[in-house]
Amino acid sequence: MSPHGNPEAPASSATEINREAPKASPAPQEHTDHAWGLWEVFVRSSRGLSHVHAGSLHAPDAAMALRNARDLYTRRNEGVSIWVVPADAIAASDPDSKGAFFESPQGKDYRHATYYTKSEGVKHL
């Protein structure tokens, strides 16, 4: 795992700093004096709710990432459960493809209950 993998790193179509920049340019690598990897933190605020992305942090491994997450993101009773994920283990959809990737559900109103208006007023439906 690269020490600075980041699912939120800019896409390669972007500008002067591209997606590969942190890995490809040698300067930061030399500077990273064993800097710790980036982890994404997900916190469940109470039982019955989903884990929600809370933020990121640095840690040398999963065990420490969990502990750092506990110290950083639950100091004020924010959680009852924590997940940590190496940032570069997250696969993300491409924002540039928004059109193609997320077009299909558009216009399919019949997937939603609100589409069915004739049953309005009928109880328990």
Partner: protein
């Protein structure tokens, strides 16, 4: 790896020449900004926008981290155990703020270690206010009330910054900052209602921190070349002078409750502009401090350097251990 697949497939679907991609990107960016929506890390964004954000967020992160020092200076001497606990929690929060912000900056493609190295090499800026010394206990009050207060004024609008990760970091930070300002106010209130010596200490601290706190909003608008563009990009929502004026208005009210005074006899509410006005600020001093010639610049950087360089062996050890462990796991698997 899955990540690469996912990223390459849709990219092919939308494949075009790089110029059209660039034009599409710009159009999309402009639309998002016009709609007052949010730019997310993997969106196309203009180079200058990215650069401006990186500069602003990393400076902001550095300020949180360097800002720990003046207050950490009083943890060991806090005059009651309750105050000691509050101060420790506060300084610790500032470390958290630095972390949230470094993470936001990392999403723009620069890692924390690079930013730290720039900071300790003296190449990065941070808020000039933290280069003033915290001389008495009352400074813990004045810093909380004035410095965190000014920071909140600056930061609440940033919760709506057009860059998603920055705005989200600011939401979290602002929630925590409100406790910071209140505890500062309470320290001053206790001192003001205390012995004559305590009250004097409080007034003296307010006198020293007032002007530097006003300067935290940055140079006057006509001397702030980048502000306009930042506002056009919905990074900044209000101008430096606008925020400063609002802040002065709030302080005028609050200082009365404290039973103290602000060291500025030119504060007035301008009925025409509906804005609060204040006396002149020493912008030469501001630029001097920013250029590294403030009372504590070298001390602050040296502390950061000591912690970072002195801690290198610990970070290396943990990284080496993690690597050994993962090799062991692989050996088991094989």
């Amino acid at each position: 790896m899955a990540a690469q697949n996912l990223q390459s497939v849709p990219a092919e679907l939308t494949a075009g020449t790089s110029e059209t991609a660039e034009a599409d990107g710009q159009a999309n960016f402009d639309r998002v900004i016009a709609e007052d929506s949010r730019i997310e890390p993997k969106d196309w964004m203009p180079a200058a926008y990215r650069k401006t954000l990186l500069r602003q967020i990393s400076q902001h992160a550095h300020s949180e981290i360097i800002g720990m020092q003046p207050e950490a200076n009083w943890i060991s001497r806090a005059p009651s155990l309750k105050r000691k606990a509050i101060l420790m929690a506060k300084v610790q929060d500032e470390a958290g703020h630095g972390l949230y912000l470094y993470s936001a900056a990392e999403s723009l493609g620069q890692n924390r270690d690079e930013m730290t190295d720039a900071l300790i090499a003296g190449k990065a800026r941070y808020s000039s206010i933290f280069n003033y010394p915290a001389l008495t206990w009352a400074d813990m009050g004045a810093i909380g009330w004035l410095v965190d207060g000014a920071a909140i004024c600056n930061q609440v609008p940033l919760c709506r910054a057009s860059y998603g990760p920055y705005g989200r970091a600011m939401v979290r930070i602002c929630k925590e900052e409100s406790f910071h300002q209140r505890q500062g106010f309470e320290i001053l209130l206790e001192l003001s209602n205390g012995t004559p010596a305590q009250k004097q200490m409080a007034q003296d601290a307010v006198n020293r921190w007032y002007a530097p706190a006003l300067m935290m909003f940055g140079p006057p608008d006509d001397d702030s070349p980048n502000s306009k563009q930042s506002m056009a990009w919905n990074i900044k929502r209000f101008s430096n002078d606008e925020l400063r004026s609002r802040f002065v208005g709030m302080m005028v009210e609050q200082v009365r409750v404290l039973g103290l005074t602000l060291p500025d006899d030119q504060i007035r509410f301008n009925e025409d502009s509906k804005k609060w006005e204040h006396g002149p600020l020493d912008w030469d001093e501001f630029h001097e401090v920013l250029a590294g010639r403030g009372p504590c610049n070298s001390q602050r950087l040296e502390r950061r350097r000591e912690a970072h360089d002195g801690g290198a062996w610990v970070r290396e050890a943990a990284a080496a251990y993690a690597q050994k462990q993962s090799m062991k796991t692989k050996e088991y698997a094989a």
